[in-house]
């Protein structure tokens, strides 16, 4: 890859290649291994060589890392049995070897076509994240594409030590269309992109503290953020968990009835919403600090 690409436009393999030290990536179960979904052919749905997940080992800034990158265009980046087993495996390897694990997330969650196998796969991956966290091995999730992290992958992302987002990324449990179906179009219009990104997009998630870093939409910016977090970990304690629950309760009380996401931005210290909307990640982070 010679030209500079926008991170959200890159494929999973391009993202990995542009984040790690040149030539340092070794893929596990690469396409020729053909470890593919046993369920999709039964439903007459085409399979993919890597089941929508690229996993491997590499170096970032000279330090070893394990990585996984989801292919959002393949069945929505969904976690099937094979996809989930690969994800769990790379996280377990990280816990075993004490090497940080970076997840490039681009997924709507569990692959419903695979039923309970997909559900079990994602819960196994979550257990592996907590194995890492118990051993203080850093787990870092990167969300930098429009598909974002939803459903089970939204939960898995929230389980990690840290989250890096770009303004293209989105994070949530139920996706916008699901919310609209339940609450009605008047309550939440999923075709209103500005509304969707103002409620679940990277900038809002950074303001609320759900994302730890807001990076620019390019691999160098994401790689710089990863480098800063590789040596850190976030301890998982009962005290910390209770504090987080209180924080979420407070958020619900404060913003639960707020009809307009701009009002939330203002309450969180963004005076000039129009300017902040157009600001780069670096500018936005500076504006967010001027509370």
């Amino acid at each position: 890859m010679s030209r500079a690409h926008l991170f959200h436009e890159q494929t999973a393999r391009q993202r990995l290649a542009s984040l790690v030290d040149p030539g340092s990536f070794t893929e596990y179960l690469p396409p020729p291994a053909r470890v593919m979904s046993p369920y999709l052919p039964q439903l007459d749905i085409p399979v993919s060589f890597d089941d929508g997940l690229v996993i491997g080992r590499a170096k970032i800034g000279g330090k070893p890392v394990y990585l996984a990158a989801q292919v959002g265009q393949f069945v929505g980046g969904s976690v099937g049995e094979v996809h989930g087993a690969k994800l769990t495996g790379i996280l377990q390897a990280a816990a075993r070897d004490g090497i940080p694990c970076v997840l490039i997330v681009e997924s709507g969650g569990v692959r419903l076509h695979e039923g309970s196998s997909g559900e079990i796969a994602i819960s196994e991956a979550m257990r592996a994240v907590f194995e890492c966290r118990a051993k203080r091995v850093p787990t870092i999730a990167v969300i930098g594409s429009d598909i974002g992290a939803y459903g089970g992958m939204g939960i898995l992302t929230a389980c990690c030590d840290f989250r890096i987002m770009t303004e293209h990324g989105r994070l949530g449990i139920s996706g916008p269309i699901v919310i609209e179906k339940w609450m009605g179009k008047q309550a939440y219009d999923s075709s209103d992109r500005a509304l969707v990104w103002k409620t679940s997009g990277g900038k809002t998630k950074y303001l609320l503290g759900d994302a730890d870093v807001l990076a620019d939409d390019e691999a160098v910016s994401v790689a710089a953020a990863i480098k800063k977090l590789l040596a850190k970990s976030c301890p998982l304690t009962l005290k910390g968990l209770k504090a987080r629950h209180q924080e979420l309760e407070k958020r619900l009380k404060t913003f639960g009835k707020t009809p307009d996401p701009d009002a939330i931005w203002k309450a969180l210290g963004i005076a000039d919403v129009a300017r902040a909307t157009l600001a780069s990640a670096t500018e936005f982070a500076a504006l967010a600090k001027k509370k």
């Binding site: 399979v47 993919s48 060589f49």
Partner: protein, 107 residues
């Protein structure tokens, strides 16, 4: 799902050293993924396996693959395609892209 195999004659490809495979594209709507692998047993053949979710277009597939085998030296290569309704021009584009990845030594 339509599945078929077909072998085309093609000039031998000089595989770059250390390169064992190349991948292009993704299995998404109107798209496909294609994997090139070394097949040294038959250095003057392009050995194809196609799986497509849209049945009934075998003639178009054979035309696109035949053109590619005639226009590029890809002998000694096994080509596997997982398709989700790619148009013929996308098929040609992905084949050329995988060929490009192979020679540029990029993933």
């Amino acid at each position: 799902m339509e599945k078929f195999d077909k072998v085309f004659s093609s000039k031998p490809l000089a595989w770059p050293r250390g390169k064992r495979w190349a991948l292009a594209g993704v299995v998404g709507s109107g798209n496909l993924e294609v994997l090139f692998e070394r097949n040294p047993q038959t250095p003057d053949k392009m050995d194809c396996h196609v799986e497509s979710s849209i049945p009934g277009y075998k003639d178009s597939w054979l035309a696109a693959l035949g053109d590619f085998a005639a226009n590029y030296p890809v002998g000694g290569t096994k080509v596997t395609i997982h398709d989700q309704g790619a148009a013929p021009i996308v098929v040609t584009f992905r084949l050329r892209q995988a060929y490009g990845h192979l020679l540029n030594k990029t993933p």
